[in-house]
């Protein structure tokens, strides 16, 4: 893949953690930094205006990408901050979560609200919801970062809405693989990170539907989020501006802009490639009699597995083959408890991966077994 020089030599299979960045993004960030660096929404001079333009153009592109309006797009530093804005900004409520959640969509709710959990059943690869239960907010992942399981989010939100609950979707894992339409989903909040869709780290998005913006108090207070400040009191700005205190990562947003263009051009080919590679990997794991989790229902290109070698040792040995996989609990300890393991090995694909990456992985796994178990 000529657009991603780093993967020429590397079998990078940790894309659920972060994706690699195309040259087009590097150029955009460089161009911005060398030619236009200035604070956005402030300076009334050419490069200041240009910075503002870049931020607002990116906001429009994000809005188009998920079928929202630009007035519903808040820039954050990532998914975690986006979810924290909602979890800390809503009044104390009863939250319905799933056992598949990443800690980012679990810990903030657990800290400040009452939570109830829909359990994951590994045998059926399904989350068992009970919509007889009372709750105020459904906060669910779209796709698990461990098993790759894709939840029937639209259907879940429809049921939540019948109970007049709010709905938040953690789209961090799905956003780089599948187009999302917030109107079709019917969610009130959607959170994701640029760096899982070929963009830079340090930039994320919170979609907040217009009708519910007033229900959420800002998380961070300071410059740029106010209407008027006097010695006695501060009147906050209206709309999304309230959620964007302080200076943003504008170079990152310029990079994100290029990444969105890149993904728009490539998402169909990329997701087809990822699907084929996932099938190929599962076949190879079966051949090696290596146990993997989930993948019995609709799933994305993320596969967790365990073998008779500790995941850390597997990962260290694979590194010698230039194969990068993830080893650990993947910030999903409640799910690990359900799977009955403390850690797994995880492979996650992006558009630039190839069959050769999988072949190298399998070769490395054989070697790990040979080295450790003899």
């Amino acid at each position: 893949m000529k657009d991603f020089p780093i993967v020429q030599e590397l079998h990078y299979l940790d894309n659920a953690a972060t994706t690699q960045r195309p040259l087009q993004l590097v150029e955009a960030m460089k161009d911005y930094t060398l030619k236009f660096n200035a604070n956005a929404h402030r300076g009334i001079y050419s490069i200041g205006e240009k910075s503002t333009e870049i931020v607002e153009d990116t906001r429009k592109k994000v809005a188009n990408w998920i079928n929202a309006s630009p007035e519903e797009i808040v820039f954050t530093k990532g998914t975690t901050e986006a979810i924290n804005i909602v979890a800390r900004g809503l009044k104390k409520s009863k939250i319905y979560l799933t056992q598949l959640e990443h800690h980012a969509n679990f810990v903030p709710w657990q800290q400040f609200h009452e939570v109830i959990i829909a359990n994951y059943d590994e045998n059926t690869d399904k989350v068992n919801f009970d919509f007889e239960k009372e709750f105020d907010v459904l906060a669910t992942t779209y796709m698990s970062n461990v098993t790759g399981s894709i939840l029937p989010v639209k259907e879940l939100i429809r049921k939540a809405k019948e109970k007049r609950a709010l709905a938040l979707v953690d789209a961090a894992q799905v956003i780089g693989h599948k187009k999302i339409d917030v109107k079709d989903l019917g969610c009130d909040f959607l959170a994701f990170s640029a760096h899982k869709m070929y963009g830079p780290t340090g930039v994320g998005v919170l979609y907040i539907k217009k009708e519910v913006q007033e229900l959420v108090k800002p998380l961070i207070y300071g410059g740029n989020m106010i209407k008027n400040v006097t010695l006695e009191k501060t009147e906050l700005a209206q709309g999304i501006q309230r959620f964007e205190a302080g200076t943003m990562d504008i170079a990152g947003i310029a990079g994100f802009n290029a990444a969105l263009d890149y993904l728009a051009q490539n998402i169909e080919n990329f997701s087809l490639n990822e699907e084929k590679l996932t099938c190929y990997l599962l076949e190879k794991l079966d051949e090696q009699k290596i146990k993997y989790f989930g993948h019995k229902n609709s799933s994305g290109p993320v596969v967790s597995f365990v073998l008779d070698v500790h995941p850390h040792d597997v990962s260290t040995i694979l590194d010698r083959y230039n194969v990068c996989i993830r080893a650990g609990h993947h910030c999903a300890q409640p799910l690990m408890q359900c799977l009955g393991v403390v850690a797994t090995c995880r492979v996650s694909f992006a558009g630039y991966n190839t069959k050769e990456d999988v072949d190298k992985l399998i070769q490395g796994l054989k070697e790990a077994r040979r080295v450790i178990n003899g």
Partner: protein
């Protein structure tokens, strides 16, 4: 390749000499590494301020388990103060390994656990 997985370490991993529980130990301490879920529990018996017997139980990677076994042997005959003054460099020297940042944590878990146990043991003594 395998400096990291050379025979001597794998031998400690596969056939640890100091695994198991002690009956009536003076110090028992469990600790885990949240990153990878490695767990160790150490048992120490003392006589006249020195460690006479050490054993451990645990589940983890080669580095963590082999280090547990090697350090168990090393602790025997040491005073509690001597163990408390042991630093990370000393552990890495004993292992003879050049570990990456994340894997250093695997190697340090056994010493971290035992040091915690010693602090607990000493604070109990003070209360008495």
């Amino acid at each position: 390749m395998d400096e990291l997985y050379r025979e001597v370490l794998l031998e400690h991993y596969k056939n640890p000499q100091n695994s198991g529980k002690l009956i009536n130990p003076d110090i028992v301490q469990k600790d885990s590494n949240p990153l990878c879920g490695d767990v160790v529990e150490f048992y120490l018996r003392l006589k006249e301020g020195k460690v006479t017997e050490v054993s451990f139980e645990g589940k983890g990677c080669v580095i963590c388990m082999a280090t547990s076994d090697i350090l168990s042997e090393k602790f025997k005959g040491m005073s509690l103060d001597e163990i408390q003054s042991m630093q990370r460099e000393e552990v890495l020297d004993i292992l003879g390994l050049n570990l990456t940042h994340t894997r250093v944590k695997c190697a340090m878990l056994p010493l971290v656990a035992v040091k915690k146990g010693i602090i607990e043991f000493k604070s109990k003594g003070e209360k008495k």
